[in-house]
Symmetry: C3
Subunit: 435 residues, 3 copies
Amino acid sequence: MDNPDRARVPRESAVDLERLFDRLWPLNRSLTGEGVRRTHAILGELVPLRQIEMPSGSRVFDWQVPPEWVLREAYIVAPDGRRLLDVAQNNLHLVGYSEPFRGRLSREDLEPHLHSLPALPQAVPYVTSYYARRWGFCLSEELRRALPPGNYDVVVDTELRAGSLTLAESVLPGESTAEVLFSTYTCHPSMANNELSGPLVAAFLHRRLAALPNRRLTYRFVFAPETIGAIVYLSLTGEHLRSHMLAGYVLTCIGNRSPLTLKRSRRGDSAADRAATHLLRQQPEHRIVEFYPSGSDERQYCSPGFNLPVAVLTRDLASYPEYHTSLDNKSIMDFEGLVAAVDLAFDICCLLERNRAFRGTVMQGEPFLSRYNLQSTLGARRERDRSVEAIKWLLNFSDGAADLLAIAERADLPFWDVAKAAEACIAAGLLIPVD
Amino acid sequence: MDNPDRARVPRESAVDLERLFDRLWPLNRSLTGEGVRRTHAILGELVPLRQIEMPSGSRVFDWQVPPEWVLREAYIVAPDGRRLLDVAQNNLHLVGYSEPFRGRLSREDLEPHLHSLPALPQAVPYVTSYYARRWGFCLSEELRRALPPGNYDVVVDTELRAGSLTLAESVLPGESTAEVLFSTYTCHPSMANNELSGPLVAAFLHRRLAALPNRRLTYRFVFAPETIGAIVYLSLTGEHLRSHMLAGYVLTCIGNRSPLTLKRSRRGDSAADRAATHLLRQQPEHRIVEFYPSGSDERQYCSPGFNLPVAVLTRDLASYPEYHTSLDNKSIMDFEGLVAAVDLAFDICCLLERNRAFRGTVMQGEPFLSRYNLQSTLGARRERDRSVEAIKWLLNFSDGAADLLAIAERADLPFWDVAKAAEACIAAGLLIPVD
Amino acid sequence: MDNPDRARVPRESAVDLERLFDRLWPLNRSLTGEGVRRTHAILGELVPLRQIEMPSGSRVFDWQVPPEWVLREAYIVAPDGRRLLDVAQNNLHLVGYSEPFRGRLSREDLEPHLHSLPALPQAVPYVTSYYARRWGFCLSEELRRALPPGNYDVVVDTELRAGSLTLAESVLPGESTAEVLFSTYTCHPSMANNELSGPLVAAFLHRRLAALPNRRLTYRFVFAPETIGAIVYLSLTGEHLRSHMLAGYVLTCIGNRSPLTLKRSRRGDSAADRAATHLLRQQPEHRIVEFYPSGSDERQYCSPGFNLPVAVLTRDLASYPEYHTSLDNKSIMDFEGLVAAVDLAFDICCLLERNRAFRGTVMQGEPFLSRYNLQSTLGARRERDRSVEAIKWLLNFSDGAADLLAIAERADLPFWDVAKAAEACIAAGLLIPVD
């Protein structure tokens, strides 16, 4: 059987996801600025967001919030008068956080300001310089090789000014203060898998959870620029998260055609790891990788001073050919697969909702199951009955320490079978929760 | 080398076992009643048994002892006057615990009272209804299909009356109050592997152990109806077992031609598990399976309130094609294999007898083995000497915590080699027991 | 990258080792006596040795130091007047510790005093009788079969007299009192792999370590007769070793052409085991075997009353065809391989020197690596950078408990990469040692 809560909430379609993708794609996001705010405004139509602004120059742990970046226009005029590398045509043409510049340079002097990828000659790379002042343009290796000698007029009309870093959160309260975190980033300009896949999954997951009746757990969604955003968020909520977080997941690069993948938390055996591992193993294609300290915002959540139970749900964490180039666009996205990613995240939440430890009320000898209508009164040879099997595992191993997931793993049964058996046993008065 | 105690006690022959089988086979056992008592009377010729009677209606943990069932006669008279499904011909024809009934029914009205197995059309199934009042007959699917329309006269001359549930125990005391339990059941009517194999092995194992000189351990044998019998026994002795049991085994379905099999206890690493695992692994064909909470009386001994170190010795625990049908008869029995099962159980007991933890008297540097005549005084290249090897393992690892079996496992040596080395070292004053 | 300390010390050549081999080979070593002292005198030219003499008859733990053995001459004169089995021709011809004898014996009476190996008909075996008085001669099976009938004149001009057992140590002090032990033996007469390989590796390892600037650890080298020598040494220093030893290695049989091999200590997971395992796994050919209680002096160091972290570095611990025969001679030695053995032992020491546990100074969120010049300020797609990777592992896992080796193992990176990253992080003020 499958997660019974799937039927209790509306399920988004691939088209819903694609429509939201198309609206978010053109915005020129960066670490700070209006592109981030406009992205949050659109997401806010699905998810009630509380925006947080952290002023430029603020000290956060070992970091300092950089100035806010304003981009007005940027392009190059070639010797023949053609306008090239116009950021209005492609957000990736300008190095992120380029300082202002205006001037005429020879082909030779322009060279150190150009970025391309010899190994991917048709791709425009994505390059940033948040913490060191420079300017630069990104272009395909093919175009670079074709640039003729002569003088080029460069226009970089930008500004680095005191402003703020923008992040947003949404908390869905439950009966318990125990929390599940979903964190994703909103700082990359036009990239598809490595930017929009995470916020899309988070937004529609939020919609499903908001519709789930009788939520036991509290859910926290964070949308923030990568790295510095997570660090700012931890500076504000780290102590709270440390005492309330049951499980957390970074959502990133989850929109292409690779199999769903769990990167475990630094702890490796947290509720976040156990729940995702159990559910992924029921999918024919999946990957489970151990924690390593590069990647996305799990680097911050799992820094040793916090060591939060935060894993990563992804398909290809920074390891696909189109990564950080103009090739990471809508053509590599699989919107049906994005719905499957929402399904996985939703199933994880429902598993965590139902996963508790119980103690049996009859511990000496088996309970007399026929009396509770949990087993037939006719003693006879019969087919393997998975529901009776699940009940027996549950009653034998509910010692107050093992939770349902631990029992399901030991029994090699799907969690949902054991959870259903638990409902029957609770109704019969044979199990009582210990927490 | 093999268990040296094998030569110190008489060994039964396959013919001995077959003769006892033939006497026990015809008795119409059920959960209660004279069939059980007569079975115990015959077993009592080999094993001095103390019979225990628990009155009908007694509350035991979550259960209640059912009434005693008396069967006088039961059959059906077909429309053509032939007597069919006579329980005098085959004990399995009547559903166990059928309530009394006498009357004439049409073929159609008879239908819901008939039990057969479409997948095994020549087999008569074994069906019981201990805890819900009904009556019924069991027959082959072939015969069922051939029953003509017409009226059938049904005679079920039974009685459900206040009486008692019958179990029996035999305790062989040793020097120590530490106990080894063997538990088997005596409640199935004419079935071979799934009834008589267990009591046969238990009875002859008892005979060997009674003949073993200087027994260190105490042995407890229990013969009881399955499930409710074990529950009753636990209600009487559970606390005692909890504080005295070193190891226990349920003996069941151990008489057919499948390989000897250990189903581990719920604990998984108890002395019962370790001893049987070590000895089975020295047999070319064997199976070792982890605990699961269906099966035989280990379900009760391993219920979480007791969690006793009780494993199962079997060949095919409820998983062979003839299980719970008339096909489970003498033709599937292997009496030589039953002797091998007694050998295994006896070897387990002898291993447990000898398995103790020791502390060396020389712990700093090796003992000077030549002085104790434990090693040659001639230093020379020689063939691997397993006895010196066992002595060295033993002396190096006898730290007061590791027992002989743990050392044998670490050394990858047969237990008997290590036990023999221990005898030599004890005689030399190099080892002293810590318990 | 490789051990950076390799370049800081002189490296011996295979010829250096071979020259020392040729000087040590002819000496007639035994458990005691002048052969041992002359061996130590030659080793003392490379290694400043402190000689220790333990008087004959001393009680050490369960042992007693045997008398000192003096060998003047020993041979047999055959019926035809030829002198045979002259110990002046081959040290192995006389059974070690033979008592004095002079007399004429028939071929038949001579027989029980002869030792040969039918399975290796051309080899002279190595035989000793340290603790029981006898005399004997060793010869090839071929020669034995050719001995004609007649009378043989036997001359065994030896003496067993009060003297002493000779061992030697050399301690190279470091900043810390934590010690690394290297122990090898000097009691076998003319054998190559099973005698000289260990002292040769120890002597040149000592030379390298003596040249290593800023040694943190203390190094202790022990040259002693096998078994009784280690027992005597433990009786003198065991308590000191117990409180100071970080890691120790017995060096034995490490000179032939088999792959370098670690035999783990009894503990199995000590620093000695971990360091050698990590480095051996980077070699394409190697073997790692678990502890077993026969072998060389690890039997004493790992006796349960000491249980020191002493492993064995070897190639073929007592398991090669030429073992304990005249075939264990220079022809089976690989002097280049001996240099590789010194390399391994030296690398182990350098690893232990650098292997410490650290605590990060920034534990909440990642440190801002660009500020410390540990990461580029340009955010761009780039090739995997193993140095940044090592820094990230190190900073994430330096929680004050995990040492560099543990982090290298978890990261699946060579220790040297992690150690280099640690240097950079210490310089940047991001890591401080906890011990």
